[in-house]
């Protein structure tokens, strides 16, 4: 295996780590579709920053995109709270509008430039090892630094806020009354999701963002009964899918993010079968606790 292939696997794996952890919490909170919406909604932020500064991938881009991701989440929250629009309809109202703004921005002002809709949707992890920055004299792929940093931040975030996050996921009212600040933890979780979706969007494109947030977490949910085990399994599934997906993509000469996505789905299928078998051989499954 070449160094570049290794690098792609590591980048995808690091990204899937953060996504799988946050995705597991979202799945248990019945907000599994939020990352999908956010990953669409960040597009106008990326386009706007590109039009203003001419930069496609910088810290400013991340900030601009995160701002729009937050706009989507907050707008969704506001619409839902008015009681006029149901939760899922509120989501379905917010993200297509923001995504539309982004597409119009690209086709009106930025066509022919280095930003195009294809790379935003399909992602370009294939070339990630080639874009390097010098770090202490060594050329390091930029995506590696970004995804590594993101994974570290997410792990720290979950470790530090474990109690409030855990409690507010399973018993929001208890989390409030016992002074654990469940509301604050939930908001922080949404901010983390928006930030990570942007990082992922930038590194691997929209398809993998959606898959990485949902599929490993769902796979783990089928196989485990405690939150800790679920997180470990979800992260493992993410790495496994990244590794197998990259190998198969090279073997079949197909798109790398697409193949990684399909491998994650195949793993989910295996987990479905396994959970059937497990349930038949054991007592009825107990809920996650």
């Amino acid at each position: 295996m070449s160094a570049d292939a290794m690098m792609i696997i590591v980048i995808a794996g690091l990204l899937s780590t953060g996504c799988a952890i946050l995705g597991s919490f979202l799945l248990l909170r019945r907000q599994a579709l939020l990352p999908d919406a956010v990953s669409h909604a960040v597009l106008p932020g990326i386009v706007l920053i590109f039009l203003l500064t001419g930069q496609r991938a910088s810290l400013v881009t991340l900030l601009g995109a995160t701002a729009f991701g937050l706009l989507c989440v907050l707008g969704f929250d506001w619409l839902r709270r008015t009681g006029i629009v149901a939760s899922d309809a509120a989501l379905a109202l917010m993200f297509p509008a923001l995504f539309s703004l982004g597409v119009l921005g690209i086709s009106r002002f930025a066509s022919g430039a280095h930003i195009d809709i294809d790379s935003a949707i399909y992602g370009d992890i294939t070339f990630a090892p080639l874009r390097t920055v010098a770090l202490a004299g060594v050329a390091v792929p930029r995506s590696l630094l970004i995804t590594g940093g993101a994974a570290l931040v997410i792990v720290l975030f979950v470790v530090l806020l474990w109690r409030p996050l855990h409690t507010s996921t399973f018993d929001p009212e208890f989390a409030e009354t016992s002074g654990l600040r469940g509301q604050v933890a939930s908001r922080a979780l949404l901010v983390a999701v928006a930030g990570l979706a942007v990082v992922a969007f930038d590194s691997v494109g929209a398809i993998l963002v959606v898959t990485f947030f949902i599929v490993p977490a769902a796979t783990a949910r089928l196989l485990t009964h405690t939150l800790g085990a679920m997180l470990v399994v979800a992260v493992t599934v993410g790495w496994l899918a990244s590794w197998l997906g990259q190998r198969l993509a090279v073997g079949f000469d197909s798109s790398i993010p697409g193949t990684i996505g399909l491998v994650s789905v195949a793993l989910l299928g295996l987990a479905l079968l396994a959970s059937r078998v497990m349930r038949r051989s054991r007592k009825p499954a107990t809920p996650v606790s």
Partner: protein, 313 residues
């Protein structure tokens, strides 16, 4: 009849075709939207519209030609399969509805993109234009597309009118509906089928990613203006038609993709209705609820907030 309508509009022929086609499509999607939105199946529709992508790609791979009807048939089949998969995953008991939708959504998107990239790389000269199914294009519309939309739209509308009472009770009181002897699965299948129809008709003009907005936004807007389902359905249709017609025309003139323009128009109208609608609007409520909640409660006990409890009927 269509050529008469197209000729009657004071527009150049290609523009007139686009306006009529996009408006018709907006009407069908808008009018069928409530049957998804009021059942809290908005994101279900999103996953189904993403699922049209692999269907279109597979239909193209099998036939090797870009016949709209064949591609739409492929889209309809795979949207239906996606609906079945979501219901099945949900019934299996361990995944919540949103997780099932998310899983099917990501399978559909991944598979669709992989197949479309594969086709784009295969060098088949016929394939140009397949990716309009991603973001939509109104400019290439011809009279035959309008005829197809009209035919299927009339069929769907006849269905809705005939089974209106069944559909209504299955939305608002599924328990009663089942007890009264309606076959729940049949009503469910019919509602899902109508949803698939609306999505398939719209996906080429609006695009798979944005199609859900054309189902949801007109319904949200119309919901602010009426409390009766029998008014809501045609009203949402009209709102969709206006957004579709204006958006289709504007996008063609400005050489922009049609989907985003139509979606932004419809969403802007929906948000305006949420804010400014006469009775249910956010501003109307705030104005009615007076200066301070405590003062109001004292002054008019028991009359606090009727607007919230006002049901659709």
């Amino acid at each position: 009849m269509i050529s008469w309508l197209v000729d009657a509009l004071p527009l150049p022929y290609p523009d007139a075709v686009v306006v009529v086609g996009a408006a018709l499509l907006g009407f069908v999607a808008g009018a069928l939207g409530p049957f998804a939105v009021l059942r809290q199946r908005a994101m279900f529709g999103d996953a189904m519209s993403h699922a049209t992508l692999p269907g279109v790609a597979i239909a193209f791979l099998l036939t090797g030609a870009k016949v709209p009807e064949v591609l739409l048939l492929g889209a309809a089949l795979s949207a239906g399969l996606a609906a079945l998969a979501m219901i099945g995953l949900n019934r299996s008991g361990k995944l919540s509805p949103d997780a099932s939708i998310g899983v099917v959504l990501s399978i559909s998107l991944t598979l669709g993109i992989v197949l479309l990239t594969h086709i784009a790389g295969s060098g088949n000269s016929q394939q140009a234009g397949l990716n309009t199914y991603l973001l939509g294009q109104a400019a290439g519309m011809v009279e035959r597309d309008i005829e197809l939309t009209l035919l299927l739209g009339v069929l769907a509308f006849a269905c809705v009118v005939t089974f209106f009472r069944l559909l209504r009770s299955s939305i608002f009181d599924p328990g009663f509906s089942a007890v009264a002897g309606a076959r729940t699965w049949a009503v469910d299948a019919a509602a899902t089928g109508l949803l698939a129809l609306a999505i398939v008709l719209g996906v080429r003009t609006v695009g798979a990613i944005l199609m859900v907005a054309l189902l949801v936004a007109p319904c949200v807007a119309a919901r602010q203006l009426t409390t009766r389902l029998a008014t809501l359905v045609p009203l949402a249709g009209v709102i969709g038609a206006v957004a579709g017609g204006i958006g289709g025309l504007a996008s063609g003139r400005a050489e922009l993709p049609a989907g985003p323009v139509i979606v932004l128009l419809a969403t802007a109208f929906a948000i305006a209705c949420v804010l400014f609608a006469p009775r249910r609007g956010v501003l109307a409520r705030r104005w009615r609820s007076g200066p301070h909640p405590l003062v109001r409660e004292k002054a008019r006990p028991g009359t606090a907030d009727h607007s919230r409890a006002e049901p659709v009927s």
